[in-house]
Amino acid sequence: MPYLAKLEKRGIPTVIVDFEDQDNMVKEEALVNGVPEIRIIHASRTLPGPVDIENWMADMLGALTKPLTAKERETGTFDPGQPRVLFEGTLDEAEEFYQQTKYIPMPVEAPLAVYSDGFPVVIPTEERVAKMLKGTSHKPDEIIILHHDTPVMEGMGSPTRKKSDRVLFQPLKRTATVEQVAVNAVMAGCKPEHLPVVLAIAESGCGISTTNFPSQAVCVSGPIVKELQMNTGVGHLGPGSTANGPIGRAYQLMAINLGGAIPGVNRMGCHGNPMNNGGMCFAETSDKLPVGWDPLNVESGYDKNESIVMVIQTGGGIVGSQFSPGGYRALQKSGHGGLARRFDVKGMPGPHNWLRYLVPGIFSGREGGIVLMMVPEMAQHLVDVGFKTKDQVYDWLWKQSFEPLKTYRNRSWPDFRRNGWMGIEKTSGKPWKELPDDYMVPSQGDDPFENVVIVAGGQEEAAVEVFGGRGATFSVDAWK
């Protein structure tokens, strides 16, 4: 939309063809880009293209020639502003106020919470927010900015983000102060000592992705994990921790309140995602990493004593835990059970490379990097079979993902990710369209480092995978 707004401002008339259910999102984008009356034509989600265009081609062309209405000629400034104090009343009244809903028409057709994720929130009284702000040395009115250059997702239209840029919270590209982040942290149930982590998450802009089944997750690494007593053991992805839970929830509340994300208006994940119910924050067990495996902060380029968050945009959440813990133990202890039969190591005690059980199945459903979570015992087994570093795990997984181009082209997402096969295939340096069907390409993407290993969890031998791969990282210490 910034592009179309630029063209309209330059005197070049434009018209958008899009699906009707995206109307709210297009209009909001048009408004924040200064051309609220941009003309939109609706394509069909179901009619074949040649039939569909018959219904609107004349209107589309008319949108370039039909004279402007008075409203379309209006100029001015859009500056709604936000009061610092949103509500005054008793706590009972405030609870009702902060739980208010607004009816969202098609494509939702249900009331949705205006200020919350649907669950009750801690009321952000001025006193509670002041107490929360004691968790940081940053001033309440300080605007959230980036502390380092941050890569953006390729091909998704996000502007390049540079150090010292103001963070624009998605999807409405709003800014926020430290105090506004603290308000959301209070509402999420955070404690003052959590605030630097929440501020680091805020630095990400709290993206929500769109369209399909997206979710967001935050992994914390560094000394702050122990300082906050985060749960990195049994149930670390589940309920119970008064650190993991509220910090994860703060992400979602910031997306809703700072970014303005509303399902069916500008948050178009078709099914939503249960990982976003209450949010998802976890941490690695860095003190149980095998010798030679770097913690997430170090492999992300930070000092081992610097605490960070990695903000992961997942493409579908947790996708698998493939074998039984008992079966795993049988494999490693004495070479028995289904895993041993599959690996043809019956009667041969471990260690064995259990990653072999995951492939190629984990690549069948979705392309790109994965977040692979495993308990410490399983990480040690990988070291024992020769994976002396995490990088070796990433590289091995990536190499297992190679498949003939013909097979890769029969997947769905690569049409999009590979830009209609118009570019260059990176392992060969040749145009996609010139490669033979049997040329082997990595379904995991162009870089083994898109994978991430997280060591955490309890004692049961289990690993889980999250699609989405490596995310951007942000310093927690910068916000202390």
Partner: protein, 97 residues
């Protein structure tokens, strides 16, 4: 039960909503009087089922328009260059925004 004084205490509650960056609202660009003879760009962003048919129909049914095309499969349009903007007289963005 909390004492009435506590229960009835009035609090100032702060706003969690982010700040809209003020924007200058612009009029749409003046429309062209007719398409014939004009340089109109079709900016294709995915949905080939629609855009292949659309491009073909436009060129077939409106041969007097100087049709030009930018194409990508992603949602980020391939933008006109500064030089191209100097002569562009209209742009259709399909199917995306």
């Amino acid at each position: 039960m909390p004492p009435r004084a506590v229960k009835d205490k009035v609090y100032k509650c702060l706003n969690p909503v982010g700040n809209v960056v003020p924007v200058e609202v612009h009029s749409l660009a003046p429309r062209v009087d007719k398409l014939d003879g004009k340089e109109i760009w079709l900016s294709i962003t995915g949905e080939p089922d629609v855009t292949i048919a659309l491009e073909r129909r436009l060129k077939m049914d409106y041969p007097n328009v100087n049709w030009k095309t930018k194409k990508t499969y992603t949602i980020s349009p391939v933008e006109l260059s500064e030089e191209e903007m100097k002569t562009a007289q209209g742009l259709i963005q399909a199917v995306c925004w």
